[in-house]
């Protein structure tokens, strides 16, 4: 089917320009153009913490009342790819919500059908600083932002470790990353090599690190961060396949050493497997947002009280923390775009972001570094301060990253969804292939992804 352009006429551009200028200078006053009133229909991501949805509803209702817009808000789950199906449905049918939540890669996949939101982004960045590079990479298509990064559903996947085990091995994680805004010398020693040294005693102590090598997002994310910290790129920013580079080989050699100490079933891990391993008390380290710890609080409190969250290990080229961003996108067929932009600007103001984050116990991650100091992360317990270092803070010297960066987006989305990174590792560590064989396979796969 032929897809039309974004369908913006010159008049729209002028209107946008005016609105953008206005909202940039008066961020807290919402410009009510003739089209700001009327109806708006929003499809939010159904937060796994129900209180998060309640908070969102409240904020939306308050905004709707103030601006006299009739807003219908739906909460659509991502289980079973439901929100993906909704997205595809609305894109095909060119009808549906005005604003829809888009996850990591789908914001870019649907770029042709989305309204550029540079004006909203500019006004937010002027107030709160630049948005993190991972989100920018995902949502800036051909120089224009097509989605507003949301906090609702955005997450990091840092280390979540069992304090007692690490202490017994001589590494006090609470001292390494204390619940205070200070950088410790100890944290510089938290590298992949250090982790590798501790993997063997972990396995002996029946608490092997539950670091998955399956094909779902949790698995692809941490391995992607590892690769990036070695400087290993499967495809570089120009689109050349660099899978046979030295950096990749280095990363793979590391993985070969590490895989010996991982449990046998990591190859079939899905997104919840590492959670379950932690809750069952069977592992000393996972890379996951605090959802696992939150459930452990209910089902296995002794394990929960022994957990501490802090950034991923550093490699030769830096420390990278896997980051998944949820975005809000405005369909180009929406009939009330200016109201939509108003709403999104409102929802991403610091007060609203913080209020929602408190409702979900700090699970959500705002896209701005300036918002990494909410009190909720210091208060959640037990143990107190356990998620203080969950958001990437300025003194961490860490960068939010997405697996397959910096490949061109069209290729990267396939690398991510087809889990090329973890499959490459698994072919060597489990499939018994030599590095050359595995790399040739990867080369072949990546060639296929380049097809336009």
């Amino acid at each position: 089917m032929k897809t039309k352009g974004s369908g913006i006429s010159r008049r729209d551009v002028l209107k946008l320009g005016a609105a953008a200028a206005a909202s940039a200078t008066l961020p807290l006053v919402h410009v009510r153009t003739a089209r700001a009133a009327g109806k708006l229909s929003v499809g939010f991501w159904d937060h796994w913490v129900p209180a998060g949805n309640a908070a969102m509803k409240k904020q939306v209702a308050a905004w709707a009342k103030k601006n006299k817009v009739e807003v219908t808000d739906d909460y659509i789950t991502s289980i079973g790819n439901k929100i993906l199906l909704t997205m595809s449905a609305e894109a095909q049918a060119k009808a549906g919500h005005d604003i829809l939540a888009f996850d990591t890669w789908n914001i870019g996949n649907n770029a042709e059908n989305l309204e550029p939101v540079d004006d909203v982004i500019n006004s937010l960045e002027k107030k709160y600083g630049k948005i993190n590079p991972a989100s920018e990479y995902l949502a800036k298509v051909k120089g224009r932002w097509v989605g507003v990064p949301s906090s609702s559903g955005s997450q990091y996947k840092p280390s979540c470790a069992r304090i007692s085990f690490f202490k017994a091995q001589g590494l006090d994680v609470q001292a390494m990353y204390p619940a205070k805004p200070e950088h410790t010398a100890l944290s510089d020693q938290w590298t992949w090599d250090t982790m590798l040294k501790l993997a063997e005693p972990a396995k002996k102590a029946n608490l092997p690190f539950a670091l998955g090598l399956g094909q779902t997002s949790d698995n692809v994310d941490w391995v992607g961060a590892l690769f990036r910290s070695f400087g290993a790129e499967l495809v570089d920013a120009q689109g050349n396949i660099t899978v046979k580079s030295d950096a990749v080989k280095q990363a793979l050699e590391y993985m070969m050493k590490l895989a010996k100490f991982l449990p046998d079933d990591v190859y079939s891990f899905d997104d919840a497997s590492n959670n379950r391993a932690l809750i069952a008390g069977k592992t000393a380290l996972i890379f996951n947002p605090p959802s696992a710890w939150a459930v452990a609080k209910r089902d296995n409190p002794s394990v929960a009280a022994d957990c501490w969250t802090f950034p991923t290990p550093a490699g030769p080229k830096g420390r990278f923390v896997p980051h998944l961003t949820y975005f809000w996108g405005i369909w180009s067929f929406s009939k009330n775009k200016s109201a939509a932009k108003d709403l999104l600007t409102f929802l991403m103001q610091r007060e609203q972001v913080e209020e929602r984050d408190i409702a979900v116990d700090g699970y959500d991650i705002p896209p701005f570094m300036s918002m990494s100091d909410f009190k909720i992360w210091s208060e959640v317990e037990p143990p107190r301060g356990t998620v203080y270092n969950y958001p990437v803070r300025p003194f961490h010297n860490a960068t939010p990253s997405i697996s397959a960066y910096p490949a061109p987006r069209d290729i990267a989305v396939q690398i991510y969804n087809r889990a090329t990174v973890t499959t490459l590792v698994a072919k060597m560590t489990k499939g018994g292939q030599s590095m050359d064989q595995a790399l040739s396979w990867a080369q072949d796969e990546l060639e296929g992804f380049k097809r336009g």
Partner: protein
């Protein structure tokens, strides 16, 4: 003459049956219309009157009414099956951005991908093994059930139908929980007897086994019921004559049962092949393509490489891959069935 009937009047015939032309009371055979038997009992004058009047009217009305009655089905098929189907086929002939027509470009591209060749192999392995297992087990169960006296069959039939009756997506979740790496109840049993744990969904061959197991578990009751129904319609006297002639159980099966059931076996196997090749839920929930793509089948690979990766035409091409093959197979099998039904008379 009363035309209220009861089910006892039912006679088993092929669905294409044309009843034999009866002879008239004076020995001659009429070949105008098949329904002469009643007329044969009436006096000639009445027959003549009727022939000019009501029968001709009936003939005229017949095809219009037929068409009208069939109209909902025709509309359904054209509007909700043919049109979307043709659109889906059209989709598979487009390029990624859906702006250009590329003909069979997607298909030739797929042939060159080693992953896709793996998907083809796995889909065939899955479908053929599962259908074979279902047919054999279903047939066995039907036989065992057939041996029981009728009144006892009820409970057993009910219990054995349970797998098919539970919604598949839901029972697959239950199986998944049984295979879960940390909490598997099967592994608990294995540990209990001293055997090591099995990575049910973690190892390629075990994962494939699990897929086939779940599909067989779910689909066997359907086969069992179809075969049981068919077995009941094989006349007893055939078996008895064979027994008297000294045939043992095995020979009875080969020479009586299998030929008589040939049509139903063809139809159920064909239907099951089509449905099993199209299976999505089981693999999606259990392994989502499994350890390193080694349990991917057409539907799941289509979803991952298609919708999730933003290339819907490629996904369509994958899904439709088996279409030509299955269509040809269906044509030949259905033609065989129809022919055999006609011959049986």
């Amino acid at each position: 003459m009363s035309w209220k009937v009861s089910s006892a009047d039912n006679v088993h015939r092929g669905w294409d049956a044309a009843p034999p032309l009866p002879t008239r009371s004076d020995g001659r055979q009429d070949d105008e219309m098949a329904n002469r038997s009643i007329l044969a009992t009436l006096p000639r004058e009445e027959i003549a009157r009727m022939q000019t009047g009501s029968i001709r009217r009936l003939t005229r009305r017949r095809s219009t009414i037929a068409f009208l009655m069939c109209l909902p089905l025709i509309l359904l098929i054209f509007g909700l099956v043919l049109y979307p189907g043709l659109y889906a086929i059209f989709l598979s002939l487009l390029n990624k951005r859906m702006t250009q027509f590329v003909g069979l470009g997607n298909f030739t591209f797929l042939f060159q991908r080693s992953t896709f060749r793996l998907v083809v192999f796995q889909s065939c392995l899955f479908a053929i093994t599962a259908v074979f297992a279902k047919a054999v087990i279903g047939f066995t169960l039907a036989h065992l059930m057939h041996n029981l006296p009728s009144k006892n069959q009820r409970v057993w039939r009910g219990l054995l139908l349970v797998p098919w009756v539970i919604p598949l997506a839901i029972s697959t979740l239950g199986w998944w929980w049984l295979f879960d790496p940390s909490y598997s109840a099967f592994n608990w049993v294995l540990n209990g007897v001293g055997l090591p744990e099995v990575a049910w969904l973690g190892e390629a061959n075990w994962a494939r086994f699990c897929m086939i197991l779940v599909n067989t578990w779910w689909g066997t009751p359907f086969f069992m019921i179809m075969y049981l129904a068919a077995l009941k319609s094989v006349p007893e006297h055939l078996y008895e004559s064979a027994a008297i002639d000294g045939a043992n159980a095995w020979q009875k099966m080969r020479y009586i049962t299998l030929p008589m059931l040939r049509n139903i076996i063809s139809i159920t196997v064909l239907f099951s092949l089509i449905v099993t090749f199209a299976n999505f839920d089981i693999v999606r929930i259990l392994t989502n393509g499994g350890p390193q793509d080694q349990t991917h089948i057409f539907a799941t690979y289509a979803f991952q490489a298609g919708i999730q990766s933003g290339d819907i035409p490629l996904g369509a091409a994958v899904s439709l891959f088996m279409l030509p093959l299955l269509a040809v197979a269906s044509f030949f099998i259905l033609r065989g069935v129809t022919r055999r039904s006609k011959e049986a008379l």
